[in-house]
């Protein structure tokens, strides 16, 4: 058996003790063979490093995209300040939650969910931000959305998801279009899918789930929406300010 073939055969599966004994004997007694083993393993290590470099670039794109969708990521130099802020925010959030829970236990829900959600949607989701000069498929979907061509926009985002079911921008925008079209079950499905794929500090998925539940207003929806909004406040999640406002008004 050719040396490289033999070495490959050895490392590609768990060798028996007899195979291992013979292999090691050759390493000890045949310097050229030992050199080939070292070459084989060095190549694999070098390839792994190159592979890791490529994947790191891919991860960097994902991370940068997540960061650009959020205003909750602090610059490294501000870490200590952020720690203090996080603690203060957590304390304020805990106090607010205590007040909200107390009021809620006294007065119960006000049933204002659909109205609040409707107002939020008309104030914040009428138009989506489109990047000038950029013409990728997400941007096309957003342009269709802004032209009120909701079914076409949805088809566009769904087409993206067919080729990449984890595309976060497509999941978020497909959810928003579905919400706008009144297909709340579908919107929830997109937002839930997005929530399991993203960090709650960076993604508004939980907030949009709550918003959709408020708008749908089936039995139990309001309670669940409140639970999600509280979760956002507790975790200092994305759209925390909006979540706090809803909790105050509901």
């Amino acid at each position: 058996m050719d040396s490289l073939d033999y070495i490959d055969h050895y490392f590609e599966r768990q060798p028996s003790s007899e195979e291992a004994r013979q292999f090691e004997k050759r390493v000890r007694e045949d310097p050229e063979f030992a050199d080939n083993v070292a070459y084989y393993l060095s190549t694999r290590i070098a390839l792994k490093e190159m592979q890791a470099g490529e994947k790191e670039k891919q991860f960097r794109e994902i991370y940068d995209q997540m960061v650009s969708q959020s205003n909750h990521v602090a610059a490294p130099a501000k870490t200590r300040l952020m720690n203090t802020r996080i603690w203060l925010s957590a304390l304020a959030a805990a106090a607010l939650i205590a007040v909200v829970v107390f009021c809620w236990s006294l007065f119960g829900g006000s049933g204002r969910g659909p109205e609040l959600a409707g107002r939020y949607i008309s104030q914040n989701l009428e138009e989506m931000s489109v990047q000038m000069g950029k013409t990728d498929s997400i941007q096309t979907g957003l342009i269709l959305y802004n032209e009120r061509k909701y079914p076409e926009a949805l088809r566009q985002f769904e087409a993206i998801l067919r080729s990449d079911s984890t595309n976060r921008s497509a999941l978020l925008n497909a959810g928003i279009v579905s919400l706008k079209m009144g297909d709340y079950d579908k919107a929830l499905s997109f937002f839930k899918n997005l929530a399991v794929r993203t960090d709650p500090h960076l993604s508004p998925a939980l907030f949009y789930q709550a918003l959709t539940l408020m708008k749908r207003n089936r039995s139990g929806d309001t309670a669940l929406a409140k639970q999600l909004l509280r979760q956002i406040v507790e975790q200092n999640g994305n759209k925390k300010e909006d979540a706090m406002q809803f909790l105050r008004k509901m």
Partner: protein, 196 residues
């Protein structure tokens, strides 16, 4: 609050994507990376790393986790999140202790010991000494000089794809044909690497 069952179900989905290989594996890697990317902030906060180092430690942790999952070293005794965090924490501590930005040197030492698992002590030290003498810059330069097909095939191999998966991804008829081509590429690389 998401319950334990749904978290386990999410774990199973990611593991299933990673085990399938090919495009699904890449999707699985991205999902895993995105899901716990907030660890990066933990890295800066708890271990005093720069954001760049924490990002790097997290990327390495995800890749190490993917390798282990594919080698069935993840037994599911804890959640994927807990397990990944342990890997990440160790990477952060390594980076912090060594106070080194040359993460290749840290990872390479680990890679060498992983690769030498199947060799006993005496033979291992011989191979290890030879590996440490490798000219990494030249080896990578020569790898980059290979044809696209060869390089792609070797990268898939180093990414723990089986010959069957390589055959499926690159359109070879059988795993044996893929293996023969892969070994030819390795042979070709050895020739050009040795002409230093």
């Amino acid at each position: 609050m998401r319950n334990d069952n749904s978290s386990r179900e999410d774990d199973r989905q990611v593991i299933s994507l990673l085990m399938r290989g090919g495009l699904d594996k890449r999707k699985g890697e991205n999902v895993l990376f995105g899901r716990y990317a907030y660890f990066i902030r933990e890295g800066t906060r708890k271990f005093g790393l720069s954001e760049e180092d924490a990002f790097s430690a997290y990327s390495d942790s995800v890749l190490a986790a993917v390798d282990k999952i594919r080698n069935e070293a993840f037994k599911g005794e804890s959640s994927l999140k807990t397990w990944l965090y342990q890997i990440f924490r160790n990477k952060c501590v390594d980076l912090f202790r060594r106070n080194s930005t040359d993460k290749n040197s840290i990872n390479r030492a680990q890679s060498i010991s992983e690769q030498l698992l199947y060799i006993s002590d005496k033979a291992r030290s011989i191979v290890q000494q030879l590996i440490e003498k490798a000219d990494w810059r030249l080896l990578k330069e020569r790898l980059n000089g290979l044809s696209d097909d060869c390089r792609r095939m070797l990268l898939l191999w180093a990414d723990n794809h089986s010959d069957r998966e390589i055959a499926a991804e690159l359109g070879f008829k059988t795993a044996d044909v893929a293996k023969t081509s892969r070994l030819r590429c390795l042979e070709k690389l050895r020739r050009v690497y040795n002409t230093r």
